[in-house]
Amino acid sequence: MTTKKTKTIKWGEEPKLGWKEAMYLPAIAGGLATALKHMFTVKTTTRQYPEVEPTIPQNYRGVHRLNRDEEGRVKCVACYMCQTACPANCIEIIAAPAPKDDPYWKDRDKFPETFTIDELRCIYCGMCEEACPVDAIELTSIYDLTGFTRQELIFDKEKLLSVYDETSKTGKDPVRTNRGELGPAAEEAKTASQGPLPPGRGTPG
């Protein structure tokens, strides 16, 4: 029964030891020479982490941020796409109709009253930013997320907007931002720029 399998076994020879290895001493001297050479090499491979921060690639998937449009409002239109796409169920949005009489919100139908992301539940897969039709949610390259309580790491809308302010101020925008709009609806808006813009979508800046 098992003989069938033996055909797939390859027999290999151990590498033969020469007289140098069998004598041990020359081999030991060689090893010591290598150790000494490395000992007096000044260059180390260690990164001095807290003092010298590593450069994180801009397509890193770190802490989320909620983008603002050019008027400073939250870009999100509360369409629930990200919440639906999220495999970890960490996004919770409560939408509210935009106040029509307020000139500030006059071109919007809906806006997120609350937008909560549980950063501890999130698996940082980036599906939410893939799903977002208006490029409102993005993953930044912030990787050192810490907190003393679990409650601290449940980010609400204001916190996520502050992440946007912080990252756009320090020039740590994700690569997608610099590359223009990537959401499917945004692409469509660009090609159909002759027609009127769909509601809730500002002109690309």
């Binding site: 027999w11 020879e13 069998a22 090893g31 490395h38």
Partner: protein, 393 residues
């Protein structure tokens, strides 16, 4: 009683002082040797090593010490309580006991009263006692393995037992040549015998003895090329699997004490002890001369310690059959050969530097036995064939 104390006080206080020095230095030395070892390992591996606590991480050792003392004492349910506690202390006790006849500074052969850098000066069985005591250190490991009531620990202990027994033979054989040359077992006498110019040091006319001695002494310390008693892959942690906190550290301290002992012995027996070109002849008892000689000795010892640590980071470990093969097929014949040559040279009163050519024997012997070693040491029982996964060749 008081009168007796008063009578013996002039000989008692130097001994007590020396004991105090050893008791104070061994734990500090152990802590700082771990630090130095970590730094050295880091440099060899192109890292920077501990550098957070204090300047250059110098207080890391102290932080480690504090942490170790504050650790919870976990005592597993299944151990033999009494032996479990005795083993680590016995291990350290024997390691420190061997330091009794160890001069850690210059000791004149004509012993006078006063502080003399040694606990027991002028002991005529010196080196013999050292070997006897250091053999006892196997007990600590075996007790630890047995008390752990754990088959892996016991395997580690048994291995270490076999290793100790095997390597004590070449250790003794290599020292006999030195003893025969000095005509004394007294370590101070052996050092004084190398007191002339530096080519009188034992290394220059018994290099083979040094090689055999150093290798087997390294095996006695259970350090890396020979650290078979502890082996993560095969034995979990070896004999100290069940030990934690301060109990583990006692084992560790014993290991480092052994390293220090071995380094001292190497420096004293083969590298001329406290002698140095320009510092030859008998010891003068002026304070400056004493301190200078102590410095020379400690410097030599440090060099040997660094060498041992470097070896740890440049050599792969031995397999168990290779370990045994090295002792029984390699070192014991070489030791006997060396002893024979020393006997011939000393009996016929030949110039003793002829003996340096015994190193040549080593090369010739290795060449002859290389083919034999190939078939026996490297490939024990298998026919030199291994099952390799498909596509690997």
């Amino acid at each position: 009683m008081l009168e007796y104390l008063q009578q013996t006080w002039p000989t008692l206080w130097p001994t007590l002082a020396a004991i105090g020095v050893i008791l104070a230095f061994v734990p500090v030395l152990g802590l700082y040797m771990t630090f130095i070892e970590r730094k050295l390992a880091a440099y060899v591996q192109d890292r920077v090593g501990p550098n957070r606590v204090g300047p250059f991480g110098l207080f890391q050792a102290i932080a480690d010490g504090i942490k170790i003392f504050l650790k919870e004492q976990v005592i597993p349910d299944h151990v033999f309580k009494f032996l479990y506690f005795v083993a680590p202390s016995f291990s350290l006790m024997t390691a420190m006991f061997a330091l009794v006849v160890m001069p850690f500074g210059p000791v004149p052969t004509d012993y006078k009263e006063g502080f003399r850098y040694i606990v027991a000066p002028g002991i005529d069985i010196g080196i013999m006692m050292m070997i006897a005591i250091s053999s006892l250190s196997a007990y600590g490991i075996i007790l630890g393995g047995w008390a752990s009531n754990n088959k892996y620990s016991l395997y580690g202990a048994i291995r270490s037992c076999a290793q100790f027994i095997s390597y004590e033979i070449p250790l003794g054989l290599s020292i006999i040549g030195v003893i025969a040359a000095a005509g004394s077992l007294n370590i101070e006498q052996i050092v004084a015998n190398q007191g002339g110019a530096f080519w009188n040091w034992n290394i220059f006319w018994q290099p083979l003895a040094l090689l055999v001695f150093f290798t087997s002494a390294l095996a006695e310390t259970n350090r890396l090329p020979f650290d078979l008693p502890e082996c993560e892959q095969e034995l979990v942690g070896g004999f100290h699997t069940e030990y934690g906190g301060i109990k583990f550290v006692l084992f560790f301290l014993a290991e480092y004490t052994h390293v220090v002992t071995v380094s001292f012995l190497t420096a004293l027996l083969f590298f001329g002890g406290w002698h140095f070109p320009g510092l030859t002849g008998p010891v003068d008892s002026s304070l400056f001369g004493m301190l200078l000689r102590a410095f020379v000795l400690v410097f030599k010892v440090c060099m040997v310690v660094v060498f041992i640590m470097l070896l740890r980071w440049s050599l792969p470990r031995f397999r168990f059959d290779q370990l045994m093969g090295l002792a029984w097929k390699g070192l014991i014949p070489l030791g006997l050969l060396n002893l024979l040559c020393v006997a011939v040279v000393l009996t016929l009163d030949l110039p003793k530097h002829l003996l340096a050519f015994t190193a040549l024997f080593l090369f010739v012997g290795s060449l002859i036995s290389a083919r034999h070693l190939q078939s026996t040491i490297n490939r024990p029982r298998s026919e030199g064939r291994a099952i390799l996964p498909e596509g690997s060749i």
